[in-house]
């Protein structure tokens, strides 16, 4: 240790250069650019990235370090970007060399838990093998644990997961995701998970203005756009939709836009005379205003 300190005291490190050399700058910039809002999430990720970078530099200078625990839990309402961020996270961890391959394996209870005795362990291990060297993303992790059924096979999957999370920390990173309140309950029931997870990140709901800009980005990606009146209609739609049940942030917006495109197509087919290219691109207020949201009943699909 003393040798390491001596070495460290006369060697200096340009952290900024390290940061850009690892490509972290690009990842974070892309995160800022591609994801609307999510301020607290972005700043947490920036912090984690800095921590990991420092960790790596310290390793190189010979300070004794343990493999940091990187398991995370993402909590937040549906459609707040948990999966998208997890995907980015895998990229960041790969760039910093904390995981070797950088793939993201996204699973739910069905992929881990078997249907009969002796089915769960091989199934879970199969998934873990696929996730080795990458990130295992468990969506709605609380379904793994069913307190009402003590013979539920979920417990077996949990035990295997906990063991791997502890013993093979350098081989894979586990990210648990789900609604905040149910995750909280899940962690209370399974204290083993809470203690093995280093980073808890909470995903806030989007503001109305953020959802509007998300909807514009989504449309732009498919070469559509709002007419000015339609933009206003969308703004009203978001405000009304939020008040209704089963609102799931960006996912609701995506579904609404899919339905708006459907109505636009119907309108254009019914249109007499030639159709101009702009008409194919433009969503009109009618396409949005005929949504059931404006008639006071909720949309069919959540």
């Amino acid at each position: 240790m003393s040798a390491a300190v001596e070495l460290a005291s006369d060697s200096s490190v340009d952290l900024r250069a390290e940061f850009s050399a690892a490509g972290i700058d690009e990842f974070l910039a892309a995160l800022d650019r591609d994801l609307v809002g999510l301020k607290p999430v972005k700043s947490r990720i920036r912090e984690i990235a800095s921590l990991l970078l420092i960790e790596r530099v310290r390793q190189r200078l010979g300070f004794t370090t343990e493999t940091p625990t990187l398991h995370m839990s993402f909590t937040g309402n549906p459609g707040t970007g948990k999966t998208t961020v997890a995907m980015r996270m895998a990229g960041i961890l790969k760039a910093l060399g904390f995981i070797r391959q950088g793939q993201l394996i996204s699973v739910t209870r069905d992929d881990l838990v078997g249907q009969y005795i002796g089915h769960t362990a091989p199934k879970t291990k199969e998934i873990l093998k696929k996730a080795m060297g990458g990130v295992l993303f468990i969506d709605e992790a609380y379904y793994l644990y069913r307190p009402d059924n003590e013979r539920d096979y979920g417990q077996e999957a949990i035990e295997i997961l906990l063991q791997v999370m502890e013993n093979q920390r350098e081989d894979l990173v586990v990210i648990l995701a789900g609604y905040a309140d149910r995750m909280e309950k899940f962690f209370t029931m399974n204290p083993g998970f809470r203690s093995r997870i280093a980073h808890h990140i909470d995903f806030p709901d989007y503001e109305d203005s953020e959802l509007l800009s998300i909807s514009e980005t989504m449309l732009a990606r498919q070469n559509y756009r709002f007419s000015p009146a339609a933009r206003q209609a969308m703004r009203d739609y978001i405000a009304r939709r939020r008040a209704q049940p089963y609102f799931s942030n960006a996912r609701s917006i995506r579904n609404a836009l899919d339905r708006a495109r459907l109505r636009q197509a119907g309108r254009l087919i019914a249109h007499e005379g030639p159709v101009r290219a702009e008409m194919l691109m433009e969503i009109e207020p009618g396409d949005i205003l005929s949504s059931r949201v404006f008639q006071g009943t909720p949309d069919s699909a959540p």
């Binding site: 070797r100 391959q101 093998k129 696929k130 080795m132 060297g133 093979q168 081989d171």
Partner: protein, 139 residues
Amino acid sequence: MRVTQGCFSFLPDLTDAQISRQVQYCLDNGWAVSLEYTDDPHPRNTYWEMWGHPMFDIRDAKAIMGELAECRRMHDNCYIRLCAFDSTHTWESLRLSFIVQRPAREPGFMLARQEADGRNIRYETRAYVMEKPEGARYE
């Protein structure tokens, strides 16, 4: 007598670190790695017992090395080989195969001569261990 089959068999046995790097090379090429074991060392014995299915969709060698450790634990006195299968169209066959474990003592093969018609001789190689039943050959 040292059995030589597959790649690297004229080299000293690979260490685990070396095996791991070979496996990673296979995975990076998109080949599915599988493990097979046997205690019948005859060169014409091409169909070895499979240790589970070929492992498709694996990205990291660590997963394969875990399976290999398990296979070694269960079959500590067998030959184990590691095969890499390339599923791309027109290949659809093994691209690489090498022995990753061999029994501590390999007694080798005996040469049997058989007098046939017209003073012809037929040769046959027979592994000494094959006199014993399966599972008791390398104890």
